[in-house]
Amino acid sequence: MSERRFNPRMLTLRREALGMTQTELAERWGVTQAFVSRVEADLLALPADKLDPLAEQLGVPAAFFLETAEIHGYGSPCFYHRKRKSIPVPKLRSIQARVNILRIQTAKLLAGIEIGSPQRFAPMDIEEHGSPEKVARLVRASWGLPMGPVQNLVGAIESNGGIVVMTDFGTTQLDAVSQWTAGLPPLLFANSTQPGDRLRWTLAHELGHLFMHAVPSGNQETEADQFASEFLMPAREIALELDPVTLPRLVELKARWRVSMAALIVRARDLKVITPTKCTSWFKRISQLGYRRIEPHRIAPEAPTVLRDVLNIHQTEHGYTTEELARLTLTLEPEFVEQFLPEARGGLRVVRPS
């Protein structure tokens, strides 16, 4: 393996994905922190004998560090995320690195695959169309969604050219990251630990970014929320159903529109079905009942199908073994199974004689 081809950015990416500092890596690797720093900064060529120990410490095949794909960060026009305010920066950086790796892996899996869905993602200018709500209505129309609730949002995204990748971010503080880079379909990486109603809102929010924010703007999070609200709960259709707001009605509307009770209350306020004061008292009430932390009456999460079908083709038609697929995606088999074949994970059990 040539030293010239070692990509120091992949080292940084993997280290950050694992949430490891340079000092921690240096200790494990048996080098100094200064050495790690210089290798990452591309000031020092990696000696050939250091590559395999590095790969071993970071739990990837050595080929991982030869990858030359682009790496994108928050704030770049092709990288958006939906997070809560309190998430620490190191965690955010770790997730950013993991998502970049997932994107690289997804791209490798998509090679040699054709997806039959038409590409109906196209950037739309808010100023040209008037408001995020109008963009949402246009997207619904261009996707041919019927009136009423979006029955299966994940299915709608994948039927119109996007791909949803479920992954455990290891925190509940970040819900999703979306990326739309050259040569790949729009990718929406969603935290697999969130409930079904939150997942739908998160994905609709990310859709808003993908359609409206080809160039990042200061107001983009609010705009993405406005898009999500209209996309999942069109004003003309839901306003009448929201009146009057009662607890049993919120539950029924949650089941029908597949959004959280909290989202319905906010929607009722925004559509002036209830006053802002009433909205506040509703939030106090559901908080007292413990519903702010865990809402009752879970919505079943929707499952993406594209990546599952891609893997199925690689296994059945292309004849790949799990180990080969792991190698293809620059990872080791257990990590590959954990991310891409979680249902296979349960099949491996140690059977002890009784």
């Binding site: 997806i115 039959g116 299915g155 029908r256 009752p296 009456h297 879970r298 199908t305 594209v306």
Partner: protein, 200 residues
């Protein structure tokens, strides 16, 4: 006034049948949830009163089938509702109850007679009237308690908890998991290229 069956007497009489009573209530409610989900998908929502009537019919039908031919239990349809007669000493009907365990809805004369343990034609005069009831949680979408209550003209005399639900409440799913209408077709590009190369 007739002698009312005590709580411990009722426990003894009902012991062989408690699970069946619970099952009828639970299954009736679950059937309602399935019906509600189907109707919600069509945009139809029912009033609390309509829901209570439907749940009652679903529970009563299950009780009629479950207790038909059971020794020591008679299934009667009297005064517009189903009555289960246990050993001639307990006459039980099904009702939705409020969190304070009182009946909901408009109080009819039949309900008043039942609640006040007054004589009702067709039901043995010595039988104590009990209500097997379900109490919903604040969202009205989940059963919070299943109880048997005994009341007289002054109020509730005793309550027997049929408590399979309480204490192990969980977040239940609502709405059926909806499949994507037509998932995109995913195919091998290599296979296609190979076929083209081979002139197929």
């Amino acid at each position: 006034m007739k002698h009312l069956t005590t709580k411990s007497e009722a426990e003894g009489l009902l012991l062989p049948h408690v699970e069946t009573v619970q099952r009828c209530l639970r299954e009736g409610w679950e059937e309602w949830l399935r019906l509600r989900d189907r109707e919600l998908e069509r945009g139809n929502m029912y009033s609390p009163r309509a829901r209570a009537n439907i749940v009652y019919d679903l529970v009563a039908e299950r009780a009629r089938a479950a207790f038909d031919g059971v020794e020591g239990v008679a299934v009667l349809r009297k005064h517009g509702f189903l009555v289960l007669l246990f050993g001639g000493r307990i006459a039980m009907r099904f009702k939705k109850l409020r969190p304070d365990l009182k009946s909901t809805g408009i109080r009819t004369n039949q309900q008043r007679l039942f609640a006040e343990q007054e004589e009702m034609p067709g039901i043995p005069a010595t039988a104590t009237f009990l209500i097997a009831g379900y109490v919903l949680d604040p969202t009205q979408a989940q059963i919070d308690r299943l109880v048997v209550t005994c009341s007289d003209g002054l109020g509730i005399c005793w309550v027997l908890d049929l408590d399979f639900a309480r204490g192990r409440r969980e977040v239940v799913s609502i709405g059926s998991a909806i499949e994507a209408p037509a998932p995109p077709e995913v195919r091998s590009a290599r296979k296609k290229a190979r076929a083209q190369k081979e002139g197929r």
